[in-house]
């Protein structure tokens, strides 16, 4: 009977499968897949950075290396992380991958990625790596004295402000200190219009924390020194904007970051703190908007958070030299300038930040300047390997303070106690 026949065939196939599968143990070996045949370089990328400029780089690569094609796979960051972990387990990772910041330390610590030392010894001088890169981009991608990642984009958080709204409220120039900022925010807030729209991610609060001399992790004492008065003041200042002065709305607990930009573009927020990625949506969303970018505020010092994508090479990559070759090409100075012109993305080379081309591109020059005083906050903590456990706790404290107006000192002290406990048990 037809059905029995099918069942028998399935049965045989299944027993073959199970025999093979049962031969498994929790062993990681290298298994080839179509994406890793001869002559294929696989790289993982974020779909947001698929620039024509990079496509040209890839085309050029394929011309210079006949017989080689680039398998350019794009994933959202959380998806990419899941995929990479599965790849590490099965031993078939890509030849090179982008990362949103922080993964380099994590995976270097876990032994999943390659040190770039031998590549740097061969090619470093020619491409001026690491010398031409902003210093903190090197330290954040290093582990135990060796460099494991190469920064490809470098961003920082600066203030976008609505020129018309500020002028109408009597401010021809943007604020430079916290007090001025509060003044401007109060003056521009009306019914349904906010002076400032904060972001829901705790990462953005680091602009305020850095400006108030707060440190995430102190390697000398192996503690998280965030229960200091400076930290409490910085967090309370943000919460008060929302709950006391009522110049800012509660941010939206969502999976994306669009909220503040949307309000800004719709003329419903006078100021937001964001990075160059919001330039295009703002221009596209409201071409008539009269706005500009201002330098970061000065609290006790002038500073802001940084971000940006780096690239790394997994240890089990089949074609690491090809991965390195692409890394070099993606960060050539002319490629960086091209990408900036095309997409408004900002770059890690010192020579980039001083290039005169920047003056011609709207808003970018200010970001170039910002990159010089911006600071990385998490590298030290990541090196302890406990960042993954501790950062969600900070996020929770941030949300409590901002959303529920819990007293900043309470939340922070609770957070710090728990974080220090985690740090001490290793």
């Amino acid at each position: 009977m037809k059905k029995n026949h099918l069942s028998r065939r399935n049965f045989l196939k299944l027993s073959a499968t199970s025999a093979l599968a049962l031969g498994l143990g929790p062993v990681r070996e290298i298994y080839p897949s179509k994406a890793q045949e001869e002559g294929v370089v696989t790289i993982y990328w974020n779909p947001g950075h698929v620039y024509d400029t990079y496509q040209k780089v890839i085309d050029q690569f394929q011309t210079d290396f006949p017989g080689w094609t680039v398998n350019w796979e794009k994933y959202q960051w959380p998806d990419m992380r899941t995929k990479l972990l599965a790849d590490f387990a099965a031993g078939n990772p890509p030849d090179m991958t982008a990362e949103p910041g922080g993964w380099v330390q994590e995976f270097a610590l876990g032994g999943q990625i390659r040190s770039l030392t031998e590549f740097i010894e061969a090619d470093g001088e020619a491409i001026e790596f690491p010398d031409d890169w902003q210093d903190y981009t090197i330290s954040r991608n290093s582990h135990e004295g060796e460099i494991y990642g190469m920064q490809i984009h470098l961003t920082c958080g600066l203030m976008f402000y609505n020129v018309d709204m500020l002028e109408a409220a009597g401010f021809p120039t943007p604020p430079t200190t916290w007090d001025e900022f509060l003044e401007v925010a109060k003056a521009t807030t009306e019914r349904n219009v906010f002076g400032f729209a904060p972001n829901q991610s705790s990462g953005y609060s680091w602009a305020w924390l850095l400006q108030n001399n707060v440190q995430y992790y102190d390697p000398d004492t192996n503690t998280v020194p965030m229960d200091t008065q400076d930290a409490i003041d910085a967090m309370q200042f943000q919460a008060d904007l929302i709950h006391v002065h009522k110049v800012a709305p509660i941010p939206i607990a969502a999976a994306d970051y669009e909220g503040p930009q949307k309000l800004f573009t719709a003329n419903r927020a006078a100021m937001i703190i964001t990075g160059p990625w919001d330039i295009k949506p703002t221009r596209d969303g409201n071409p008539d908007l009269n706005w500009d970018v201002a330098p970061a505020l000065t609290g006790q010092r002038q500073s802001t958070f940084t971000g940006g994508v780096s690239m790394m090479i997994p240890k089990d990559a089949k074609n690491p030299e090809m991965g390195w070759e692409l890394m070099k090409r993606f960060t050539a100075l002319d490629v960086e300038l091209e990408a900036t012109k095309e997409a408004g993305m900002t770059m890690p080379r010192k020579s980039w930040s001083t290039d005169e081309v920047l003056e011609e591109i709207p808003y970018i020059a200010e970001f170039g300047r910002g990159l010089n005083y911006a600071e990385d906050t998490t590298a030290e903590l990541r090196r302890t390997g406990k960042f993954g456990e501790i950062d969600p706790l900070f996020n929770k404290a941030y949300e409590e303070i901002i959303y529920t107006n819990r007293a900043a000192d309470e939340s922070l002290i609770e957070f710090v106690t728990e974080a220090n406990r985690i740090l001490s048990e290793s």
Partner: protein, 279 residues
């Protein structure tokens, strides 16, 4: 129950019923309408921060452009092959096991059923990495087999079929045995026709579930060409914002096969002739 009471109750229940229905239909369909609206908007509409229901200039071209932005047609084909293959496999294996648990008595039945049911109680991502390692060893990464094999049958389908087979009277089966039917014949000729509504439901739900499956294709697929629509659609998200219009366009397009299947299976949910077998 006196008649006047009944009448009053009748009219007001009818009214409440229609009100309830209208409300339910509205909230069910409104987000869909909004999705269609999003699919017809321009980039400017999307980024403006002002919600738009009826766009000024509906971009019907979005529906044409999407096939060029990414190999969308290939994504749809992949999804059809994978979801279709899995559904067929379920229809073959699940009812058989469901029948055994519903109608046959044998030692170890309850324990086995519990073990099968317990597989539902572990979230997929827990099995995910060992499964991935298995597929890698079989060299089935980035293939249709790799996408289909982990879902050939499921406790969900087995449980569903079991519940719908339980009410079938044993007399039908006995009659079959007396007529000289093989055990398999009883299953094939007597039991299965009785559970058409359940099979149709199983097919529909399995297809929809697999059609919308995201995480397994994410890790098992290595090249863009093998992506199904779910992971394919994420290509329209940029790093910090979503290209709503094309995401919505894609969403509307991939909605259609599920919808067609739904209409198709409605035929089987006609008032069944359950006891006809006895006549």
């Amino acid at each position: 129950m006196n008649v006047t009471n009944d009448k009053v109750v009748n009219v007001s229940t009818k009214f409440m019923t229609y009100l309830f229905l209208a409300f339910t239909v509205f909230i069910a369909i409104f987000p869909f309408i909004y999705m269609v609206s999003l699919s017809l908007q321009t980039e400017a509409d999307i980024f403006s921060g002002i919600p738009v229901i009826i766009p000024d200039v509906p971009q019907f071209s979005n529906y044409a452009d999407i096939w060029d932005l990414a190999p969308f047609g290939r994504f749809v084909l992949n999804s059809l092959i994978v979801a279709g293959g899995i559904t067929i496999s379920h229809l073959i294996f699940d009812p058989l096991a469901g029948y055994v648990f519903a109608k046959l008595e044998f030692p170890g039945r309850n324990i086995l059923f519990l073990m099968v049911l317990s597989t539902l109680m572990i979230p997929f991502f827990v099995r995910m990495i060992p499964l991935y390692i298995m597929m890698a060893r079989l060299d089935w990464l980035d293939t249709y087999q790799g996408l289909i094999t982990p879902f050939l049958m499921s406790a969900y389908g087995i449980f569903l079929m079991r519940q719908f087979m339980i009410p079938i009277p044993t007399e039908l089966m006995d009659a079959g045995r007396i007529d000289g039917c093989t055990e398999f014949g009883i299953y094939w000729r007597i039991i299965l026709p009785q559970v058409r509504p359940a099979m149709a439901t199983l097919a529909l739900l399995t297809f929809i579930f697999q059609w919308n499956e995201f995480i397994w294709p994410l890790i098992v697929v290595q090249t863009t060409a093998m992506r199904p629509v779910t992971t394919g659609l994420t290509l329209f998200n940029q790093e910090y914002f979503t290209r709503w219009n094309f995401t919505a366009t894609g969403a509307v397009i991939i909605f259609i096969p599920s919808f067609l299947l739904f209409l198709f299976t409605q035929r089987f949910l006609v008032r069944g002739v359950v006891l006809s077998g006895l006549k």
